[in-house]
């Protein structure tokens, strides 16, 4: 029982560290700035915050990979030494996290811990601090553990699974991010708030019947103007119809399934409407 409890900690700790690392990277990439993950580094002077974010990211990645790399019999030369160093460093990492989170909670009660990127915007509470404490204890009990092996019997496997389930339930209870994840899983932003690349809109347009109808009259490969209003994106191409210079205006409704595409042809000089086509859905702006 005790051995199963100790063995389960390695994958749990590795998943938590690599998950936190990936979530921070996702946030930084999404915001196109490493500064986006600065909440947990609010304790250090401003000029050190960017390096602190990078160090935190690297520490999590190295410890997570180190735990996996030293868990088995890989590198038999000095397996105990490498594993002990990584596991002690992991325990130290979470011990520092307990202190830092407690300090941050007192200094900046409105700030989230940023442990899992944008999922961790909830102000730091006792649960978040307790989670780091539990993970610190988890890392401590793995020190001195022999290399991991597959369970030798079904009873042993069931025991491992039961311990894992209890541990995950405990970590889940201590994670305010879990509620956010469940809410986000069932949430889709309305079309007027979704960031949709122009390239995707042009692909949808070129697969539509209004485009096929007017493609031969379009005179340039690149649109002359592209803009967006709510759920509609408008694309204007210059063209020639019966010897007249025209503007062919396409409106593409920004939804994933069966988007409506409409088109109007206007005289380029007089703005007279020469033709209209396309579906007319009862769509929001």
């Amino acid at each position: 029982m005790l051995t199963a409890l100790r063995e389960v900690q390695i994958p749990v700790l590795a998943v938590m560290l690599l998950g936190g690392c990936a979530a921070k990277a996702w946030r930084a990439l999404h915001a196109r700035s490493a500064a986006a993950g600065m909440d947990p580094t609010g304790l250090v002077p401003l000029h050190l915050r960017r390096p602190a974010v990078v160090m935190l990211f690297l520490a999590e990645a190295l410890l997570g990979l180190g735990l996996i790399g030293t868990a088995g019999r890989l590198g038999d030369a000095a397996p105990h030494l490498a594993a002990t160093i990584v596991r002690t460093a992991t325990a130290l990492f979470f011990l520092i996290a307990v202190g830092a989170l407690n300090e941050l909670r007192q200094r900046r009660p409105d700030a989230g811990c940023g442990c899992f990127g944008e999922l961790s915007d909830t102000p730091i509470g006792l649960r978040t601090i307790a989670r780091s404490g539990v993970l610190c204890a988890s890392a401590l009990v793995t020190i001195g553990l022999p290399p991991l092996r597959m369970p030798s019997s079904s009873t042993e496997a069931e025991m491992c699974l039961a311990v894992l389930a209890v541990e995950l339930a405990l970590v889940g209870f201590l994670s305010p991010e879990l509620g956010d994840i469940l809410v986000r899983l069932g949430y889709t932003e309305p079309c007027e708030l979704q960031r949709i690349p122009v390239g995707r809109t042009l692909s949808v347009l070129r697969a539509s019947s209004p485009w096929r109808r007017y493609a031969s009259q379009v005179s340039t490969a690149e649109p002359a103007d592209v803009w967006r209003e709510g759920c509609w994106r408008f694309v204007v191409y210059p063209g020639v119809v019966s010897g007249r210079r025209v503007d062919i205006v396409f409106a593409v409704y920004l939804q994933a399934r069966r988007p409506a595409v409409r088109v109007a042809v206007l005289d380029a000089a007089t703005d007279e409407i020469l033709g209209l086509a396309g579906a007319r859905p009862s769509a929001v702006l």
């Binding site: 915001a31 196109r32 700035s33 500064a35 986006a36 909440d39 401003l46 000029h47 409105d110 700030a111 915007d121 809410v183 949430y187 932003e189 309305p190 007027e192 708030l193 960031r195 949709i196 690349p197 122009v198 690149e222 649109p223 002359a224 103007d225 592209v226 803009w227 967006r228 209003e229 709510g230 759920c231 509609w232 408008f234 204007v236 503007d247 205006v249 396409f250 409106a251 409409r262 088109v263 109007a264 206007l266 703005d271 409407i273 209209l276 007319r280 929001v284 702006l285």
Partner: protein, 360 residues
């Protein structure tokens, strides 16, 4: 940084627009393709003062220009149409750092006037030399001098807090430190703004750390109510009737990402509002040239206004206007000075509550 060659030609570089007619034509094209023929062309560049025709979209109440001469009953202004004379109503009031008599205004000052009647010759309100700085404090030099970053488009401004206004401003802005937000109104001087009035109460969070907007269930309500503020013209025409919108489509409005790396220490505190999320108010993505019908809930005046620039700095502020009741949500639009006055706003108040109908 984007390479110039990578920027498509339809990109809305609103800070350096060489083809405003393209933006103005968008409402016409939109109306044509969506079958809303009631919409017509909107002026995005300049408007004429008191012109007949296109009255819905031109300045009716507001005149902007430089004061040439002023007497107790007549004010002479140099506007875009040349020298114009305006009669001062007996009840006319003026603002130049504070309430003053119209006769106390100085020739040479840049002024914004509001007429008593649309297109009429009589003036009821005058603001002279008024300026505003809204952004992130990036450097403090002594107790009264601040360097403020107004975002990538507007750049940086120096703010000097006048000694007589220091207490009044510090009550509303207790943290005049790098990294915190500031929004002050005052008198424009050579190279700096002399801050006299706090335009809002300072948000308690550091710039860029505003609370996340609530998730939206269904579509964004239309119309939407909230706070409307104003900004200085900068490189825009002084009599521009339009607004800076906080949620321009990031795919076509050429948000060029974060600042260039620099050794200047203040850059550590500068915040690119485009990189801080959608802000406290979720608004649908629009573009330059989109038309919005805006109603001042305090004066009950309504105008159709085109989006003329990017107002992403408004996303940093999660504040409420309390000019006539508390606004139901934060900043939804940042008007040009002319548009703000045209809708009945008082520049020294800084904001009014408004209802915005998207799509006109």
């Amino acid at each position: 940084m984007q390479n110039l060659a990578d920027i498509p030609r339809w990109c809305e570089d609103v800070t350096d627009s060489a083809s405003p007619a393209r933006f103005a034509r968008r409402s016409l094209l939109r109306a044509a393709v969506l079958g809303r023929a009631d919409e017509t062309r909107a002026p995005v560049t300049t408007t004429t003062d008191g012109d007949t025709g296109a009255a819905e979209r031109s300045l009716l109440y507001t005149v902007t220009g430089r004061i040439l001469d002023v007497s107790p009953h007549v004010l002479v202004l140099l506007t875009g149409r040349g020298e114009q004379r305006f009669a001062l109503a007996a009840s006319a009031t003026a603002w130049r750092g504070g309430p003053v008599s119209p006769a106390a205004l100085r020739p040479g000052d840049y002024a914004v006037l509001r007429r008593s009647l649309p297109g009429g010759p009589v003036v009821e309100r005058i603001w002279a030399g008024v300026g505003r700085v809204t952004g992130t404090i990036i450097e403090r030099d002594g107790p009264a001098s601040l360097l403020v970053d107004e975002g990538p488009a507007k750049g940086r401004r120096i703010v000097m807090i006048a000694p007589e206004a220091s207490g009044r401003i510090q009550v509303r802005f207790p943290r005049l430190e790098p990294g915190y937000l500031i929004d002050v109104i005052g008198l424009k001087r050579d190279g700096f703004l002399q801050a006299l009035i706090p335009a809002t109460a300072q948000p308690p969070y550091r710039a860029g750390h505003q609370p996340a907007a609530p998730m939206v269930s269904g579509h964004i309500p239309d119309p939407v109510s909230g706070t409307v503020v104003w900004h200085e013209p900068g490189e825009e025409p002084h009599n521009l009737l339009g607004l800076a919108y906080p949620a321009l489509d990031p795919e076509t409005s050429c948000e060029h990402g974060s600042y260039l790396p620099s050794s200047f220490s203040g850059d550590l505190y500068a915040v690119d509002p485009h990189a801080t999320g959608p802000g406290c108010v979720r608004l649908p993505y629009l573009s330059v040239g989109s038309l919005l019908r805006l109603r001042n809930d305090c004066s009950e005046r309504t105008r159709l206004l085109p989006v003329t620039s990017c107002g992403a700095t408004a996303r940093l502020f999660c504040d409420r206007c309390v000019t006539c009741g508390t606004s139901p949500r934060g900043r939804i639009a940042d008007l040009t000075m002319a548009a703000f006055v045209e809708l009945g706003g008082a520049l020294e108040a800084g904001c009014f509550n408004a209802t915005m109908m998207i799509g006109g």
